[in-house]
């Protein structure tokens, strides 16, 4: 019943409309396709923000709807980025190598080309051999499949282990954080096969499109990110709207009860966890070609916590809230840390925003948690008059996710 699905979720139409208008306006204002009002680097920032919004809604799916506070979604995001980055870097290096070898007296053999690519890519970590994980790097379809498969598989294995042993709540959060830490530490090693802390670079160059200027490529990626965000939004809204949504919100609020109703709770959690990890991977694959570089520091546990911060500030349990939070906080952060915001002179001390923005962000996050748990999205409730259910007993807090905690029951 697609008609009733959209009818029941009017936010989809509003959201898709806003996204389409945004994309068209940005395209018109861009250097590549329009009047050139917006610089290419700003277009890239906007495109990256759209990718961040996509990972934010996948965070909202696991946290806001299913109650799993994953502090590992940036690991999936980064893995997606690494997978596409391998193809971009391989093909780009191949282009360069083939061009430089074309001037040699004798045309190069396949092996010679491959060796030269390996030399170029891995020289920085003192190696020249291709690790096994690069076997498919030359094939775009394979790497695109890996963008989905690698984060999905990691989420599947990790989630299966964690959910099976009934690790919930903060324990699960800590465990996901540990997973992220382990992964980033592993990637920091030079012999991890992904160039250690150098990461992958030069990803902004699209192989096969050498003559296309960045001004155009940036708009392409903006379109791609907007399309992915739109599709992700619709998919997730569909997932959480029907009976399935009812089950996962039930799991969030009272996991044991859902289990006693006969639902295999672990399977549901695993489904949601893997689905969101896959979408996070896709978001990463869209983000890093626009960022141009990826390294293990991007996957540090702190990044995933920031993701939770965005979703919380935007308002969890509603996808547009996650989008607003991610877009707002990441853009404002970029602005403040870029040094463009004028310093405040207090006479005895000058507040330099590059130094103090972090403090403001941290404290405002505390304030949001304490006083505005519905986040920015809560403002829409004031407009639409959505009222919270009247809960029994003592106030358990506005965050519905808190209900699933055992402490709330005792």
């Amino acid at each position: 019943m697609p008609r009733s699905f959209i009818f029941r979720n009017p936010s989809i139409l509003v959201f898709i409309g806003c996204l389409a208008v945004f994309t068209v306006v940005v395209t018109v204002l861009s250097e590549g396709f329009g009047i050139g009002f917006l610089s290419t680097s700003f277009i890239k920032t906007l495109g990256k923000t759209l990718a961040l919004c996509l990972v934010a809604i996948s965070m909202d799916l696991v946290w806001g709807y299913c109650g799993i506070l994953s502090l590992g979604h940036f690991a999936f995001f980064g893995l997606g980025g690494y997978m596409i980055g391998m193809w971009l870097m391989y093909e780009r290096t191949r282009d360069i190598v083939v061009t430089s070898m074309a001037s040699a007296e004798i045309p190069p053999t396949q092996q010679e080309v491959k060796d030269a690519i390996g030399n170029q890519i891995f020289g920085v970590v003192g190696s020249s051999d291709f690790p096994a994980i690069w076997t498919l790097a030359g094939s775009l379809p394979a790497q695109l499949a890996l963008v989905v498969l690698v984060p999905g598989l990691l989420a599947l294995v990790f989630g299966w282990l964690a959910f099976r042993s009934r690790v919930t709540g903060v324990y699960l959060s800590i465990l996901t954080q540990a997973m992220t830490l382990a992964l980033s530490l592993y990637l920091f090693q030079n012999d991890s096969g992904l160039r250690g802390n150098n990461g992958l670079s030069g990803l902004q160059n699209l192989p096969g499109a050498n003559n296309v200027p960045q001004a155009i490529i940036s708009v392409w990626f903006l379109w791609g990110s907007a399309l992915a965000l739109g599709l992700g939004y619709v998919l997730f809204t569909w997932v959480v709207s029907g009976k399935f949504g009812s089950v996962i919100r039930g799991i969030r609020d009272d996991e044991a009860r859902v289990r006693f109703l006969g639902y295999p709770v672990e399977a549901y959690k695993l489904f949601i966890f893997v689905l969101s990890a896959v979408v996070a991977g896709i978001a990463g694959a869209l983000y890093y070609p626009q960022a141009g570089i990826i390294n293990p520091a991007e996957m540090a546990p702190i990044a995933s916590i920031y993701l939770a911060v965005w979703v919380a500030i935007g308002g969890r349990g509603r996808f547009y809230g996650a989008v607003i939070g991610a877009a707002f906080v990441s853009l404002v952060s970029t602005w403040f840390t870029s040094g463009q915001v004028p310093s405040i002179h207090l006479g005895f001390y000058t507040v330099d925003w590059v130094d103090w923005w972090q403090v403001v962000l941290g404290l405002s996050f505390v304030l949001v948690t304490l006083y505005a748990p519905r986040g920015i999205g809560g403002l829409f409730d004031l407009i639409s008059g959505r009222i919270a259910p009247n809960r029994h007993g003592a106030d358990l807090g506005p965050g519905a996710g808190s209900l699933q905690e055992k402490e709330a029951i005792e």
Binding site: M179, L181, L185, Q358, V366
Partner: protein
Amino acid sequence: MRIFFLALVALLFLVSPLSAQNGPVQTLLQDNRAKIIKSSRKSIQPTIDAIASSGLPQAQLVLQKWQAREIWQRKADGLFFYGEKAAPKAYRLFDFDSAEPVGEFPKKQLKLVKPNSGVRALIGTSLVQFQLNDPDAALRRAALLSIERDPAVELLAPLRASIGAESNVDILTLKQRLNTLLTIRFDTDPETRIAAIKEVAGDLGVDVRATLNPLLTTDLAFAEGALPESKNIAAQRVVGEDITAAAAYEMLVAANRAPTVTTANEIRKVLAAHIVGGQVGGAAVATLDDLGARIKAYDNLAASGTVPPRIAEVEREATLASFVFYDLYKEPAKAVTDAARKTLEGIQTRVGFNQALDLGLDALSLASIYFLAAIGLAITFGVMGVINMAHGEFIMMGAYTGYVVQQIIPDYTISLIVALPAAFVVTFAAGVAMERLVIRWLYHRPLETLLATFGISIAVQQIAKNIFGTQARPLTSPGWLDGAWVLNDVVSISYIRIAIFVLALAFLTLFLFIMKRTRFGLETRAVTQNPRMASSMGINPDRVNMLTFGLGSGIAGVAGVAIGLYAKVTSELGADYIVQSFMTVVVGGVGNIWGALLGATMIGSLQKGIEWLNPSNTLAAQTYMIIFIIIFIQFRPRGVIALKGRAAGD
């Protein structure tokens, strides 16, 4: 005329020492005058020996003064004296034979004997025999030390000679030990060496291993046909297993026993050099993007005689088959190498055992650090159920408090004594403030607490960065904490780690005391188990929560001082420990101090164990440790010490 005059003076100089009533030392020196003045490392040895073996009582004095560059030659008559500075540009000279001063001379009339460093080293070696018998025990020790540092074959004889006359028991032991080691290295008689080798069996000293190991060094060698019987061979190397075919063939090529294999690279070079009009070896250049095609083209060139024939891989195999490769001991005597190997194996077993002990101590000290970092968390998270992501920042705050105190009080011991309570007070206050302002509104909402405290964590971290800068600040430990407790050459543990261990134990005791023996502990347990019941009994849960949280934070601050002594103080100090701290509490089992202790021990020893297996890579060690923990949680989801039954609340 002038030349004649000079010659006359020279003659006078030569004659005059003889004519004057010189003592035996001066005579000896004059005999070797030319060599002493223009000394060189290559030719000076006989002169030094002549002085050393002259039997004169002043021989040592001469050598010492010579080595110290204090011998002066009087220009007027060419006599040698030793001198000291008497006035600017004037020296007081002494006669070697009589040790009487001869008077003061301006520098202009004197010429300094300047042995170069090589010569001085030789003199030093020669001096050793005097020093070994010197009446001053400290000098004898110093001489032994210099021999140990720089052993040489010629030192063996003087060392042996000095043993008999040694009266000091300690020094005698040292001399005998050194003698044994030098015998192993330098003695010419294999039987004596083997006896000496057997003597050091089971000795854990680094010097013993440093002496024995070189005996077993090998060279890679090859022979045609079978292994040569006459040589002291360590092991045969099978091509393809113990040595790669490429490396083995390389050896043969280097020894001119085999022709060079034509590599793919060479083929390409040769072909490139023979391109004629877009063609080479009968093939178009454009078609040569394949190794097979290149080989064909090369063979065509070879067939026409333009290039040497190609040696293919197949031929390499055949050549290699006719050779054997083996490791050849540098030491020719088989009995010696056998004895050395046997003794070394025995030592290695003991070293391994001691290394395990050392590893255990390392693990213990790492465990105490984790325990210190986690004990505050065991209170706030374990007892109160509050997840405090800013716990690491309390540790960091404590460390910076220590640093600030050290800036004010320069004496490291006093500042440390002040810093510990100061850190407690600062972080206690911070903890109470945080509990009052944030956490008490979020009890029973752990995920919100996690995020809010994380917000505090990033704010505090940035504030610390703004105040103290990004570079690491030193927190210097007092002098009495420097150094290490050395059990033997393998096992040692630094005092600072012992102090941290003691501190961890003290905290464990303190915690147990507070929780089990004080009114406050009773109230805390009551409040955490049933707040409503506790408050109806007249306990103020607000107050208890506040104080408990303050206590946990305060302990984190003290831990921060301890960790700061051991690591550098940065704003990220706490963040480095936070995940491990949570792991410690989770692995151990929440709500139980023994759990935290067990968790810390497990994680500490695990990390050290993994590091030991893969010593080059601490990153990998941490990765594997976390993976292990994730798997561990599968089997004990509630930690090692888990509450069972309905009390567990599951």
